[in-house]
Each structure stands twice: as C-alpha cells, then as structure tokens.
C-alpha cells in the first residue's frame, strides 16, 4: 500500500495503481477523455494532467503510478490552462454543431466542454470532410467526430483481441480509425461485439440500433427481450460454446419448464431479433436450445427451489403449456395444485395441435412428467370446468385459467357444411388420435403455421395433392419461412392473395373451391380492406377442404355460463398486466386470453400470472431461480477468419419424400443439430451481452463534490 495526497486529501491506495483511478475511486473527479477503466492508459488527451510535487511539468495522471509520499494537485491554474488548451486543440477538429449528433446528451466530450469551458474562436476550425460510413451492418462510422482518443482501437485489440480497428492515415495526413485499407468490417473479421461503439466517448462510432426510447440492455441484447419469457439467450449459447450443454439447458429451464419441446417448435422471436441477421442470417437459436435439451443431465433438479407447503390450493383450468407452467411454479411455491383438463391427456396444443412428426410425444411426455413431480400436483383429465368461479367456492384459494383455442371456425361461405369439409382443430386432434382421414385432393384454406400443419398431416394421410389458398401475399403469410419451405418441399401448392367466395359440391359432397385474386390492401378506419379482382376466378378441385382460418376458445359465448367477463366474443377479458380477470382470485393466460399466439407467449403469461397469484396468497411472488452455475465470460473473443460470412447452420432434416411416406417410422422430420453443428452455430453468436460488462464512463456529474 502507498499513501498519496490528492488536493490535500490523504489516500491509502495499492502501490503502483494509476493515480487517475485512485482519485476517481476516492470520489475525486479529474477530467479525462482517452482513459477508460477497462482499457490500458494511453495518456494522449492530456485532460487528466496534474501537478506532481517535485516535478517541473504537469503529467497525465492516468500514466502516473501511485507510490508512497506522492503529492499531487489537480486544479492549479497551470493545470487548468493546459487542459483548456488541450480541449481547444480537440475542438478545432470536431464539428461545432452538436444538434444533429445522436450522442447529444450522452457525449463525454460534450460533458467535458461543460466542465472545462466551451472553447471557440482562437483556432481555425478544420473540417475533416469524411463521408459518413453507413455501409457496415450494426455500426456507423462518422470520423468527422473522432477525437482520436483511441479507445475503440484499444477495445478492439486489447480487450477483445479481434484486431480489426487501427489508426489509418489519409493522404493529407488526417488520422482516423478503421479497418486496414478501409475494408468493410464484414470483410475484416469484425466480430460485431460493438465494444468500439460502447467505449467511444463521442458520436463517432455508433450503434445503429441505439435509441433513447429503448432500454439499453434491450437494444444491445434484443434476443433476450424479444423472447416473451426473457430466456437468457447469449448465456446459454455461451455454455454450448464452452461445451457445457447441461448448463445451457439449465439456463433455459430457469425461465421455462418446456426447454426440449420449445427446441422443436418454438416460433423463436429471439431469432427475429437476433442482430446477426444484419450480417447474413440470424443465429439458429431454437436448434441450439434443442441441442442443449438433448444433453440435459438433470443436475438442475437439485438446484431448483421448492418452498414449504403453504396449505393454499390453486385450481389450474386447462392442461396445456400455460396451465402446466402455472402448475409447475405454483407447486414449487408450496401451493397445492389441481389441474383440470378437458381432454384425455395433458399437453394442450403441444399434443392436439402440433403433429407428432414435428414434436415427438416421448419428448412432450417426459417434460410433463418432470413438471408433475415438481410438487403437490393433482391431475384430473377428461374433466371440463363449466363455471370457473365455482372453483373458488369449492375450496380453491385461487384459479388460473388457460383453456386455449381449440375450436376452429368455418367461414360463413356457401358450401361450408358439405361433406368433406373439415376444420383445423378437429382435424389435427383426430390426426393425433389416429382417426383422421382425407381424400386425394385436399385444399387448405388459410396461411398460418396451423394451415401448414394441416397440409403436412394431409400428405401423411395419403393426399395426392394439397393446395393452400390464403388472403395474405407470399411475404405477408403468418407461417414462418422455415415451416412454409418444408410444406413446399412436401408438395404443397401455394395460392397467395386469394379470397374464396364459395366451396363447390355435388350430391352433398365437396368437389372444389372457387378462389379469386385480391389486391389493393389498405387500412380503413383501422380495418384491413382489399378489393376482389374480377375475372380472376379459378376452381381448385377438391374432395377434402380444411378450414385453417383461425381458432377460438371453446368457452360458451354466454359470459354467465363461464363466469368471467369475456371479450371479442368468447375470449377471457384481461383486467391487468398479469392476466387478472373480472373476478378477484382468478387469473388467466395463454391463447384464451391473448388470442392464438405461441407456446412461449403462453408460458410467459403463465409465469406472470402465477407470480401474481403467489403474492395474492401471501407469498413474495418470486419465481426466479438459478439452475445453471456461474458463467465465465471471456471478453477476449479473438479472431475468427471470415466470421461475418459463416452461414447459418441448417439442421438435419429428413428429405421430403421419405419424411412423408415413412413418417410413422422415420422419427421426427427435423433432427436438429449434432455436436459439430451445434458448436459451429454457437460460435456464430455475436455475444452482444459482453458489451454490457464494459464499465460505464465516469463523468463530472457523478462527482457532486467537484461540481
């Protein structure tokens, strides 16, 4: 240890620690610009200069090492004069007008000007005349605003080991930072970790996605906030990269009790947000999740929380993914849970909506079994709850409702009741139960993922042709690209931007569907409108027609019957952020509350609701858990050649003819990743979360004493 004196204050500090850091840590502000806590001192900006007793000239405090007896002054007239001069030199080459700079209000240079004094006039302002470079994905370079603090270069080279950014010199000797020979960052092995933008004190290197209206954590790591359940995506991908697959799975499990199922069928909002899409394609996050789940070792079970019994009883109405999630956490919180499920088996849409060739039933059954062993859970299948509030009278302290949307709709068009016309929900349920049949020529009406599943099931039942007609244009279809591509591979013929005025029939049996083109989509009074284009009629011959144009809850339209206020016909009316309903003590989540969305959204809603229920029952509502071990994040990510060009890894999918003809024996159509593929894909992750570990700048506003 050494005792040093700063402005008359004695400080005990580690020997050799840089004096600027000593001062800042002790709450004494010394202005600085090129210095950054996480980077090696450079001493180039001259802002942090101080006078040292016994030395003739002021020296930068960031380069000064503490040693016993050191006495320094940070605010002498000479120091202030030199600081002012240094600032003046910086500003002579920095645009005068801040008002067009997106860093305004968060710019360290601007704050320094406020502290030291605004400098103008004496030196002639030099326009650097760099074209703003917006060609790179994710990062924008405006070298006119660069003050050569070198933080980006140090961050890229020393902190990250990526070695992309360096100092370049233009013909006229103007220095700037960038890749060698002004290469595009994508061609210079940039890892797009964005540490450069994070440490840049000015508006020179900017994150294109940054916004003053979005939480920083959310625009920096959009996958995590994009996931409705906020699964820590970069964390589990890093575990996979480190070869610790079980911990990766445990990370997913911290938020959802269906990691394996989601690995098969999740709609992956995380991938929609993934910043890698700006380089080429998003990281294949869902398949990584699945790979991790396949390598589960069950070690998380020992770490899961289990609170003592509370004596409180919760009824869960509906045993789908939302209901099972609520039951899982409810039981772990110590409550006694009873699940009421109308169908013969638990699983809801996972079982009766998603065909088994996409989601193997042993995977689903195993996860349900894990859930049921979480605590005191009683299951009553084949039991439909008619009037929900009655449960409160029957001794339950709280009720959670998630009955899903299991009722398909026949659109009101001529011929909708002909023999051979079916609806999505009944058809897929029958497919699950082995009782579904189709003819040879099938027409699916609708363009979502359920329609795709109906089409796939129809082929597997022996259909020769499957035509799919929907109102949406090709690029507006709600089906995911991947699922649509699979359907097309299997032979589905798409008819986009079509309306279907009538279903044709003979002798009571369907013979075809008339379709007509539509165009000129527009919004009028908030409603989507379009024109039907005359003369575009076409007949699709069919012996089977399946409506896949949406589905609703099976709740009766009469609100008295169900006992809860309803909305939009027969959806449960939400009354609060956590799925509160019109009746105290009853919460809801999932499709029957939100409209048909996704499994992950139902799970997320159930998490919020069970947390609120726990508080209602006297608990603290905390369902956070830490199932994975602490993670070592290595900020030194190093060089990967051609990083930006590495293509997205495609899963091992059974080819189209076999997966249809042999569907009963070939196992799941999508076999996900093997270890090699998983490693390769995990490495593509930009590790956006590393940026959040970089220390925040310390500006004079943080040091009230000095202000």
């Amino acid at each position: 240890m050494a005792v040093i004196t700063i402005d008359g204050r004695k400080l005990e500090v580690p020997d050799g620690k840089n004096v600027l850091e000593c001062a800042l840590d002790a709450g004494i502000y010394i202005p600085h610009l090129c210095h950054h806590k996480d980077l090696a001192p450079l001493g180039s900006c001259r802002m942090c200069i101080v006078e040292v007793e016994g030395e003739e000239k002021p020296v930068p405090s960031c380069k000064l090492q503490a040693k016993d007896g050191l006495v320094i002054e940070t605010q002498t007239e000479e120091v202030k004069r030199l600081r002012m001069l240094a600032l003046e030199l910086l500003l002579a080459g920095h645009p005068e007008d801040c008002s067009t700079c997106p860093k305004y209000g968060n710019c360290e240079l601007q704050m320094l000007i406020q502290y030291i004094g605004p400098k103008t006039g004496r030196l002639k302002y030099r326009t650097k005349g760099f074209a703003v470079n917006e060609e790179n994905p994710l990062l924008l370079h405006d070298m006119n605003r660069c003050i050569l603090c070198g933080r980006c270069v140090r961050a890229c080279n020393d902190l990250r080991g990526v070695h992309v950014l360096q100092y370049n010199k233009r013909e006229d000797l103007e220095v700037y930072t960038g890749a060698l020979h002004n290469k595009l960052l994508t061609d210079a092995n940039c890892r797009f970790c964005q540490a450069c933008a994070e440490v840049c004190p000015t508006g020179t290197i900017r994150d294109k996605l940054a916004s003053s209206e979005v939480r920083k954590e959310d625009y920096v790591v959009p996958c995590r906030v994009g996931c409705p359940a906020h699964i820590d995506v970069p964390r589990y991908i890093r575990f996979i990269n480190q070869g610790d697959y079980a911990s990766a799975n445990a990370t997913v499990r911290e938020k959802v009790p269906f990691p394996h199922c989601l690995g098969y069928i999740c709609v992956h909002n995380c991938e929609t947000e993934c910043k890698h899409q700006y380089l080429n394609e998003p990281v294949s996050i869902r398949n990584l999740k699945r790979f991790a789940a396949e390598h589960d070792d069950g070690a998380w079970k020992a770490k899961a929380f289990h609170k003592p019994a509370t004596g409180k009883k919760i009824a869960v109405v509906g045993g789908g993914p939302a209901g099972l999630t609520a039951a899982y956490f409810g039981a772990k919180l110590g409550h006694s849970v009873t699940i009421f499920e109308g169908a013969e088996k638990l699983g809801g849409q996972l079982r009766y909506g998603i065909p088994s060739y996409r989601l193997p039933r042993e995977v689903l059954d195993q996860e349900i079994a894990d859930i049921l062993e979480a605590g005191d859970i009683t299951v009553k299948t084949g039991t439909k709850v008619e009037h929900v509030p009655t449960l409160l009278k029957e001794g339950f302290d709280a009720v959670f409702v998630a009955v899903g949307t299991h009722q398909g709709a026949r659109l009101p068009l001529p011929g909708n009741d002909l023999e051979g016309v079916q609806v999505n929900t009944d058809f897929l349920r029958a497919f699950e139960e082995g009782t579904a049949t189709v003819g040879e020529k099938v027409v699916i009406l609708g363009g979502g993922n359920v329609a795709i599943d109906c089409a796939g099931a129809a082929f597997r039942l022996g259909a020769k042709t499957v035509d799919m007609a929907c109102l949406e244009a090709y690029d507006a279809m709600t089906a995911t690209d991947e699922e649509r591509a699979w359907a097309v591979e299997e032979g589905v013929v798409l008819h986009n931007s079509k309306t279907f005025p009538q279903i044709l029939g003979e002798n009571g049996h369907v013979t075809g569907v008339e379709i007509k083109s539509v165009g000129n989509f527009r919004k009028e009074n908030g409603r989507m409108m379009f024109d039907v284009l005359d003369g575009t009629e076409e007949i699709l011959p069919a012996d089977t027609v399946i409506f896949a144009t949406g589905q609703r809850p099976t709740i009766p339209m009469d609100p008295e019957a169900f006992g809860l206020e309803l909305t939009h016909g027969n959806y449960v009316a939400g009354k609060g952020p956590n799925g509160e309903t019109s009746v105290e003590g009853i919460w809801a989540a999932g499709d029957s509350l939100t409209g048909t969305t996704s499994v992950i959204k139902g799970i997320a809603g159930a998490r919020d609701a069970i947390s609120a229920i726990d508080i209602y029952l006297g608990g603290d509502g905390n369902i956070d858990e830490s199932l994975a071990p602490e993670q070592k994040k290595d900020p030194y990510i190093g060089i990967i050649d051609g990083f930006a060009q590495i293509p997205r890894t495609e899963p091992n999918v059974v080819p189209a003819p076999e997966r249809v003809t042999d569907w009963k024996t070939c196992g799941p159509m999508d076999n996900g990743f093997d270890e090699k593929k998983a490693k390769c894909e995990a490495e593509r992750c930009l590790q956006c979360d590393l940026r959040l570990c970089i220390s925040a700048p310390r500006t004079w506003g943080d040091f009230s004493k000095e202000a």
Partner: protein
C-alpha cells in the same frame, strides 16, 4: 409504497428544469430532479444565452430596449394570439434573472442582436475566448452546481413517465423509469414538467404539425426530446395548445462542409422556388424564421439559394455581405476547398453547374424559367429591384459559371408549446383551472410565438426556459408550503 419521497419533482434538467430546481430549493423546498440523459443542460448546451430586457448590460451598451417596447412588438407580431399576462411576467422578471444567474457565477459578454434587424436582447454567456456555440453549457453547469449545493437530488438517466394524482386530483407523485429500466415512483406534492418538447419524435411532429421529418422538415432532433412532458401533462388533464415547430430555415446537407460553404449560400443573393421564380426580398433571409416560413409556403416546401463564381470570389476577397452571431466570421477563403470536399464525399446538398441551364436541370427547375429570372435579376442589378425592392448593396448579378446552389427547407430547433399554463406556470385544464401541484416550463409550455418563432427578440427560448422555470419553481414552493 413509493421508492423515493420529496416535496417537488422536477422532470428533466435543461435550463427550465435546472432553474426550477434551484429556485424551488432556494425557496426552501426539497427537490428531486430526474433527467433522461446522462448529462444535464438539454438542448441549451448548444445554445449561447437567454433573452433579458432592461439589464445593466443594455444600459451600459446604451441599447434602448424596454419591456413596454418588446411586449408591444410581441403582441403585434403574434396578432394578440398569445397569453399577454404570461409574456409580461416573463419579461418583467428577465432582467433580475440575469443577476440571479450572476450570483451563482455565470458571467455574460453583454447584450447582443442575432442579426442586424433584431433587438439586442440576447445575453450571451461569457467563455474565456469570444462568442460562439455552446456558451450556455457554462450556465447549465453553474445552475447544476448551485442546485447540488442547495441539496437538490439528481437522478440521471431516469425518465419521467406519468404524473400521479390522488383522489382529490392533486399531484401526489411521479412515475419514472431509472437507468436499469426499472419503474420507480417518487412521492411528491408538486411536479414541474420541463422536458423540452418533441423535436426528436417524427410521428408526434407529423400528428401535431403536419410536417414530415426528413422530407419537408429538417429540425434539430436532440435525442430524448420525444414529447414525454407534453404527453404526461395532457394525460394528467392539462389542456392542449398547438404544438409548433420553432421555425428556422435549413440549408440542406451542407452543414458538414467547411463553414465557408453555408456562409456563402446564406448570403442575400438570388433565391428561387421550384418554378424558378423569386419569392421575397432576399435581405430578409437573415431572419431564419421568415426564410423557413417562405420555404414552407412553396411547392415541395423548398427554395434554392444561387451564387455564381464572381460573387464567391468577391466574398473571398472582401468578406461576405452579412454576418450573424452564429456565423461571425466573414472569412470564406476556403469555399473552393469546401466544394472539393463536397465532391469527394458525395455531398448531396451542394449543387454545382457550369451553366444556368445545367443548374436548372439539377435543381428540377424548368431551364427557360430560371434563365428568364436570372436575366431579369441581372437587369435589376444594373438598376433597381422592381420585383421585391431589395436594396442596391445586395444586388449582385449572376454571370460567371460555375454556379453554386443549395436547397433550403423548413427546419427548426425542435417543438415549442403544447401545454396550457397560466402566468404562474400552473398547468391548466380546459376550463383554465389549475391542476393542483402541476407546473410546466420551457419548450413544453412555450406557446409564446403563435405560429412563428420571434427571431426579432433573440434568446427567447432559453430566456423563457430559465424564467418560466424560476416562476414554476417559486410558485410550486409556495404551493407546497400552503399544502403543509
């Protein structure tokens, strides 16, 4: 259940909020100030100083400017379409505010005009070297230091979201989001909204003003100024007044070039619209509000300023015709370097052509129409501007290529106005009744100019910010005293 408790919450720390916080604290109130950005000062960090009337500086500089004169000018300029009582209170207080600022260490260079025809009401904050942008950031620093000295608690990177009211309709708290994105509530008796308008919110501007940001409007967009304050006040029951753009003209896309380029193209030379016709006496171009309005009135909301090589060369030799306080330097010797930089960087703002015909094509004007205007204009230069009566000294013919031009479109410093306040800066509802405990100051409540910013009295926006902030601070402090 509140996370924090205080008497007054000031929402945002620009000059209005800082002044409100200091004044309220001086009057004995406990104050928390929340600011969305990491630094205080807001848009005023770019500015140079506030308006004041009847100060010792004006006296010393022998400038005859009185509250009476300015109030009259204001009322007539706005066709009496404003709250005269509020303007009167603001003007009356403005001179004392200069001394109030000096007491906390702010120094002033003196009282200045923005351009020749304006009044010398602009009190520019002193820096060590000369007059220039950012001077007012020093004033903000002094206000910040004074506020801290008085015990005001600052919560940076914390954005106000909602005004909370109790059963009687009185303000009882503020809901905010802190830097970790966590919602917090601050219990209080009064709240002062000072969020600086909505200049960075294109949707809001479109909805409230009809302008399309980036198409026919190019205003400053200080990050974070997205109308939080206006929306909070409206939601809390404050009446809606028109939101206006604080107008100025924007010389499109040439700001990043050496200052000689904008300096030359803002001079009072030939100005034409899309039809190649003149629209005004170009001497009035100095009043950037007037120029912005003139642009807004044209087809495609655009005008073009045109010079020829001989005008440029004359300016390089002898200096430009007009200077203003933000473009003080008449030297434009590096104009041609600027043209080179523009060519090298693919700048789209500066047009260059060897002939009038070629220029017309580049500007999307009928070449014959432009040629005719240039011919007529050159004739006027030999005699008298019988079209718009521009003074002789500004009449310079266009004869020698290459010709240079820039597009001018409506721009602005952000939005002003939106919240109805009275002369005590109390937010008022549709019946003009104050909402107990709710105050607003600065740009969010600055409905002083009617439809056009008053450049004739420079320093107005910052002057109003500081003074309305002080008024809100003192009134709020009195209100909470009465409440206790």
């Amino acid at each position: 259940m509140a996370d924090f408790e205080t008497q007054i919450v000031v929402i945002a720390g620009g000059p209005a909020g800082l002044s409100a916080a200091v004044q309220a604290a001086e009057d004995g109130a406990d104050v928390i100030l929340i600011e969305k950005n990491a630094a205080v000062g807001g848009a005023a960090n770019m500015g140079m100083g506030p308006l004041a009337i009847g100060t010792k500086y004006q006296q010393r500089q022998m400038i005859d400017v009185t509250v009476e004169k300015c109030l009259k000018l204001f009322m007539e300029y706005t066709h009496y379409n404003i709250d005269g009582r509020l303007v009167k209170r603001y003007f009356d207080q403005s001179a004392e505010t200069i001394e109030w600022l000096e007491d906390m260490g702010v120094e002033f260079e003196g009282a200045f005009k923005y351009f020749t025809k304006s009044e010398a009401t602009w009190h520019i904050v002193k820096t060590d070297q000369g007059i220039g942008p950012r001077a007012a950031s020093f004033m903000n620093k002094a206000l910040f230091a004074r506020a801290q000295e008085l015990g005001v608690e600052f919560m940076l990177e914390t954005a106000g979201k909602k005004i909370l009211k109790d059963d009687e309709g009185k303000v009882c708290g503020v809901l905010a989001v802190d830097k970790d994105g966590k919602e917090i509530t601050i219990a209080c008796k009064a709240a002062i909204i000072c969020c600086g308008g909505a200049g960075a919110n294109p949707e809001f501007i479109k909805e409230e003003t009809g302008f399309t940001f980036g198409k026919d409007l190019f205003n400053f967009a200080i990050p974070g100024n997205v109308g939080d304050g206006i929306k909070m006040a409206w939601e809390a029951g404050a009446a809606k007044l028109p939101v206006r753009i604080e107008q100025a003209a924007n010389f499109e896309g040439i700001d990043e070039l050496p200052t000689a380029v904008p300096n030359v193209l803002t001079q009072p030379n030939l100005l034409v619209n899309k039809f190649g016709k003149r629209v005004m006496d170009e001497e009035q171009m100095q009043n950037t509000t007037f120029l912005g309005n003139a642009c807004a009135h044209q087809k495609d909301r655009v005008l073009f300023s045109i010079v020829d090589t001989s005008i440029v060369k004359d300016y390089i030799r002898n200096g430009v015709d007009e200077i203003c306080l933000v473009r003080m330097n008449p030297d434009v010797s590096d104009f041609f370097e600027g043209v080179e930089i523009a060519e090298k960087t693919g700048n789209k703002g500066l047009f260059k052509a060897d002939t009038i015909e070629e220029l017309a094509e580049k500007l999307g004007i009928d070449p014959e129409a432009l040629q005719e205007t240039v011919d007529d204009y050159n004739d006027y230069c030999d005699g008298y501007d019988e079209e718009f009566f521009k003074r002789k000294k500004y009449l310079r013919p266009l004869t020698k290529g290459p010709y240079y031009a820039a597009a001018i479109r409506p721009g602005g410093y952000g939005t002003v106005g939106g919240i109805r306040i009275n002369e005590n800066c109390e937010c008022c509802d549709d019946d003009f009744m104050p909402i107990p405990g709710l105050y607003a100051a600065g740009a969010d409540a600055c409905n002083l100019y009617d439809d056009s910013y008053i450049f004739l009295l420079p320093g107005n926006s910052m002057g109003f910010a500081v003074n309305s902030g002080r008024i809100a601070g003192m009134e709020a402090a009195e209100y909470i005293e009465d409440e206790d």
